[in-house]
């Protein structure tokens, strides 16, 4: 039996290192490669551990241009079984509503059975954290976010949800959708064996709107009520490299606190 897991992910420009022109202080975007959204790697690790415990299969799903195949290959390299790529010109320019519509309809149409949908907390490039909530709404299934642990019990899933000062336990019916708290786990490395499979077997199913037959008024730019009107770069924050002083951890901490106060950070 095992768990049939769908992993939702995004392939985003790698902005973990922000490139700033040292003379003008403006952002440099040229040639910035894409990566699997780091928070989705945590979700992938979460899903892989569930699979190791309960067996089953993980399929990574994305709505994106075909270049996102590289992202699927990376996830398969980590141990994910297959990829599902939803790609069509009519899906381009989508906001989170139109994106969640395509993903949820695709799940209905092309995924015969699933127990759990796992997503990352949010994306690196837009940080909306909408997709999980919206997909679960379209599908009419339970949604729990900030999940740190999951356990199967009598066909239900016991979920631990971590908030700032307390921990909640949920018992949900399957299928359900969870998003995993960022930084909860350290994503595993790509292995030769899995990456070889990704590259030579290409376990990726591609669906365009020919197959999905979605109403294109609900997809892409047309289906997107949200428009990002303007993006403003908030300017370069000058870095000051300082080495923490002190002989003992206590000394170092008090040194750090005094410096942060000095800079009016705290």
């Amino acid at each position: 039996m095992g768990l049939e897991i769908i992993l939702l992910f995004k392939y985003v420009p790698n902005t973990t290192t922000v490139n700033v022109d040292p003379n003008t202080g403006t952002l440099i975007r040229e040639g910035v490669p894409s990566v699997v959204n780091p928070h989705d790697l945590v979700a992938a690790e979460f899903a892989l551990r569930l699979k190791e415990k309960y067996g089953g299969r993980i399929r990574a799903m994305i709505m994106a241009p075909p270049s996102a195949t590289k992202g699927i290959e990376y996830l398969v390299g980590m141990g994910v079984d297959e990829g599902i790529l939803l790609t069509d010109r009519a899906y381009g320019g989508a906001d989170t509503l139109a994106t969640s519509y395509v993903i949820s309809q695709a799940i209905k149409k092309v995924v015969d059975h699933y127990d759990l949908i796992v997503a990352g907390q949010e994306t690196l490039d837009s940080s909306t954290a909408h997709i999980g909530a919206q997909v679960s709404s379209w599908l009419g299934i339970p949604y729990v976010y900030y999940v740190t642990e999951a356990e199967l019990q009598d066909g239900h899933m016991i979920l631990t949800r971590q908030l700032e000062t307390y921990v909640e336990k949920y018992r949900v019916k399957l299928p359900a959708l969870i998003s995993v708290l960022m930084h909860t786990l350290q994503p595993r490395d790509v292995t030769l064996k899995n990456k070889m499979k990704a590259v030579t077997q290409k376990p990726v199913k591609v669906y365009t709107n020919n197959e999905l037959q979605l109403n294109t008024l609900c997809t892409g730019l047309k289906g997107s009520p949200t428009i990002v009107a303007k993006t403003e770069f908030i300017g370069k924050i000058p870095r000051k490299m300082q080495v923490i002083q002190g002989k003992t951890p206590e000394e170092m901490v008090s040194w750090l606190i005094s410096k942060l106060k000095e800079e009016k950070v705290i």
């Binding site: 290192t17 040292p22 790509v190 002083q245």
Partner: protein, 96 residues
């Protein structure tokens, strides 16, 4: 006419590069061995300044490493355990 070019700080220079920084270091330094180092050449010769000399000894941070191998070669104390980052992490060159 433009103003004369000024030298940039190393931290600003390396800011133009792209890394996919791993969450775990690919290089490990045995600081105990650094204490008796006669050259501390890593501090001057690591091109991205990953090694800093402090009053408490050498401090190493792997995030800005460009994987050139210099520190490993110039270290006279064999204090550096040096590997490449896994999973395609680390520096990502575009124009070199």
């Amino acid at each position: 006419m433009s103003a004369p070019e000024r030298k940039l700080r190393l931290t600003d220079i390396i800011n133009v590069n792209i890394w996919d920084v791993d969450s775990k270091p690919h290089i490990v330094v045995n600081y105990d061995k650094c204490k008796n180092c006669p050259t501390k050449a890593c501090v001057r010769l690591c091109p991205t300044g990953c090694y800093t000399e402090t009053e408490n000894g050498i401090l190493f941070s792997y995030e800005g490493c460009v994987e050139c191998g210099t520190c490993r070669v110039v270290c006279p104390m064999e204090a550096i355990t040096w590997t490449f980052p896994k999973s395609g992490k680390g520096i990502f060159y575009r124009f070199s």
